[in-house]
């Protein structure tokens, strides 16, 4: 592989607070050799491969902490190959895959299978998460130590919450010794039982059982109390309400150390978008009020929320063409994560550096992986974006195997032009 010189770009590296015109050199092994303003058109060797980026933006490839793959067990919804294509077209180069497969990723033998499939079938970096408890039943903890040694970087029951407080306390106590990252989907099962959408005027009008925001807050408060006694690397996967934002803000101000994510859906949509029973907007956590959405946006701006995820959950048509209460929960989103996030920049809701950090360097830091930055010696996993390009989301043009996008026909501004994996162009918009 020849050295590549990417020139004439706006280089943004959120981790190192770099935002300047310049270039990036990829060495023969696909690693970053240099980046920034010192790489200019003038000092290139004649033999090198040159790519003029025409003043477009170059950022580290995105790190998406919450992605459902479908392998094993649900290959008809998404496999590693379709996920990889979808991710690359959205500028995502690293993902954390959720363990809610069939069977569940809860044992060492499953990890080998997953890593092999991920390596053979996808071009992106797959970082598998294992379940917190056996078969995500919330009873018996998995082998954090052994699984971590095999390459598991985080533990979560994915769509489920550990309900039993004693089990959760012990998990947090035990996880400390192996420095395992615990990721909780915060929702009290009993308070949210049979709930379908946010509890409020919309749920009353549609006649659907509501999920109170208290169901989320109460688990967050419980776990943060445990954290005082049993310190561990603790992350709340996604939050959805103003109430939870204020609990988190207070806890962080008091000096508690933990991290928090939010789904791009909860940042960009609200319960009104559900309209006339649109099952593609049946999500967990549910879309809540406009006030809740605004407080989440504020949370990202203030650093109360660290990470934005796609919560990419492919569901086939059969699982969604049902009555609202019977339809599957979740939406695809990995391809539209960045463009939808850029909407928040264009609307002046979130500053660009904050936004990009929450999609690249922040998740990498939480996961403890050297991704999501442009430092010398790292894999050249890069994303080139035209930040102003207008386009319209069309189900038929998306690459994910499932078509359950929650933002069909949405007009977006900003599109991924090229994605590099280890120095090679892995995706290019034609």
């Amino acid at each position: 592989m020849k050295e590549k010189y990417l020139t004439n770009a706006r280089i943004i590296d959120p981790k190192n607070q770099i935002d300047e015109m310049g270039g990036l050199i990829i060495d023969a092994k696909g690693l970053i050799k240099a980046a920034g303003k010192k790489v200019t058109n003038g000092n290139l060797p004649a033999a090198a491969e040159k790519i003029d980026l025409k003043k477009q933006i170059l950022i580290p490839g995105l790190v998406d902490m919450r992605v459902f793959v479908g392998e094993p067990g649900y290959e008809y919804k998404e496999n590693f190959k379709t996920l990889s294509n979808a991710a690359l077209s959205g500028g995502v180069t690293s993902v954390v895959s959720m363990p809610n497969t069939s069977p569940v990723i809860d044992s060492v033998s499953m990890v080998d299978f997953l890593k092999r499939r991920g390596r053979d079938k996808s071009k992106i970096n797959i970082f598998p998460a294992a379940s917190l408890t056996k078969n995500t039943e919330g009873k018996q903890m998995t082998e954090f130590g052994l699984l971590k040694r095999k390459g598991i970087i985080a533990f979560t029951d994915g769509v489920k919450t550990v309900q039993d407080p004693q089990v959760m306390a012990r998990i947090m106590n035990y996880a400390g010794q192996s420095q395992s990252l615990i990721m909780q989907h915060a929702e009290d099962n009993i308070l949210s039982k049979d709930g379908l959408i946010n509890e409020g005027e919309i749920s009353t009008r549609l006649g659907l059982k509501g999920i109170p925001s208290l169901a989320e807050k109460i688990i967050v408060e419980r776990d943060l109390s445990f954290l005082e006694e049993y310190f561990c690397r603790y992350h709340i996967s996604q939050i959805s309400s103003e109430k939870t934002v204020s609990v988190i803000k207070k806890a962080k101000e008091e000096g508690k150390i933990f991290t928090v994510g939010v789904s791009i859906n909860n940042l960009s949509l609200n319960e009104n978008d559900i309209g006339d029973f649109k099952t593609f907007l049946k999500l967990s956590p549910p879309l809540r009020t406009e006030n809740d959405r605004l407080s989440l946006v504020q949370g990202v701006n203030e650093g109360t929320i660290d990470v934005i995820v796609s919560d990419h959950k492919p569901e086939d048509e059969e699982s969604k063409r049902l009555t609202f209460s019977q339809a599957a929960t979740g939406a695809t989103g990995i391809e539209t994560l960045l463009p939808l996030a850029l909407e928040l920049f264009h609307s002046k809701s979130i500053k660009l550096d904050k936004l990009l950090a929450s999609l690249t360097s922040n998740p990498a830091k939480i996961l403890g992986i050297n991704k999501g930055n442009l430092e010398v010696g790292n894999d050249a996993d890069l994303c080139i974006i035209d930040i102003n390009k207008p386009w319209v989301v069309k189900q038929s043009e998306l690459k994910s195997k499932s078509k359950n996008t929650p933002i069909e026909n949405r007009k977006l501004q900003g599109q991924v032009l090229k994605t590099f994996m280890k120095g090679e162009i892995a995706y290019e918009r034609i």
Binding site: G200, S203, T204, R205, L206, L208, D276, F277, L322, T323
Partner: protein, 316 residues
């Protein structure tokens, strides 16, 4: 005489009756006018007409129902349609596949109208997207029961001449009630003032946003009301998680003569049926022919459903 004077009869173009929320004021008055015409027909010796002759009506009931189903069946038959009733026993068919699969099968038989009742809110909306015929909602989950609200309005108009300006109290399990929701929308549209009364655990979140006043004190809620609509309290809600006991419920929310005394002297008592005597309503009040219009509701239900079938049946 038209319900709303000086209003031209308007043509209803939609083929589905999914909820009161989808109807306009003139559309409602058109339905009620049509229904009025059927009241006397239903009392006459020969009740049969040929308005829907040659049409096929399928009643698709995923939830058990006696009155609504028989009311729709009679309504269709009196209009001359061929009526078939299907009761889908849920446990027999895998959940989730029933609605669309059954709908597609039925659709292939070219019905003109499907009357559907389903336990899931929004099911008739989904059905209407999948079939070529008219869909009439006979109750979906806790969302809407439009023909019940229409027959309630017709009953009130029959007794009081109009709905506008009346004060109407809806009492009981508002949370789980589609009858309450449809009535809130309809009575508000027709110009009534609506109070809802119930224990806090059975009042839905943000119910005031639907344009009502909410009360947990029944006497205050009934104060000076013209109409008292009682709702059925489902057995499974009586014990435990929503309420301590039927006894306590009756004490605070059962319609008794002393509570009714707060309402206007000639206030009418309504109930969508079937009643739990001694739980939500005093048994003597339920049978008081001067106050209770419960049987009249059933009678006018047929007329309202005839009007709906006539109006919404797909025009070809």
């Amino acid at each position: 005489m038209a319900i709303i004077e000086n209003l031209k009869a308007i043509k209803i173009n939609q083929n589905h009756l999914l909820g009161i929320q989808d109807l306009s004021f003139p559309e409602v008055s058109h339905i009620l006018d049509e229904a009025k015409a059927f009241i006397s027909l239903n009392k006459s010796a020969s009740k049969k007409t040929d308005i829907l002759r040659g049409k096929t009506q399928i009643n698709l009931f995923f939830e058990p129902s006696t009155r609504t189903q028989s009311s729709f069946e009679l309504a269709g038959k009196r209009l001359g349609a061929d009526v078939m009733s299907m009761n889908i026993v849920n446990s027999a068919i895998k959940k989730g596949e029933t609605l669309i699969d059954t709908a597609m099968t039925l659709n292939a038989m070219h019905p003109d109208i499907i009357v559907v009742r389903h336990q899931d809110s929004g099911a008739p909306n989904l059905l209407s997207q999948k079939v070529n015929c008219s869909v009439i909602n006979a109750g979906d989950g806790r969302r809407e029961h439009p023909t019940q609200a229409l027959l309630d309005a017709l009953t009130i108009i029959n007794r009081r001449g109009k709905v506008q300006g009346l004060k109407i109290a809806i009492c009981g399990d508002i949370l789980h009630s589609r009858v309450a929701r449809s009535n809130i929308y309809l009575m508000n549209m027709l110009g009534a003032e609506v109070n809802v009364i119930g224990p806090k655990t059975l009042l839905p979140h943000s119910i005031e946003r639907l344009g009502v006043k909410a009360f947990t004190d029944m006497k205050k809620g009934l104060d000076n009301c013209d109409i008292v609509m009682m709702l059925r309290l489902q057995n499974e809600r009586m014990h435990g998680s929503f309420l301590p006991s039927p006894r306590e419920y009756y004490e605070y929310f059962g319609l008794t003569p002393d509570k009714l005394a707060m309402a206007k002297k000639d206030a009418l008592i309504m109930h969508p049926g079937p009643m739990n005597r001694g739980v939500e309503i005093d048994t003597n009040l339920a049978d008081d022919i001067n106050r209770s219009v419960i049987r009249e509701q059933v009678e006018l239900g047929v007329a309202v459903r005839m009007a709906c079938l006539k109006i919404f049946c797909k025009k070809t």
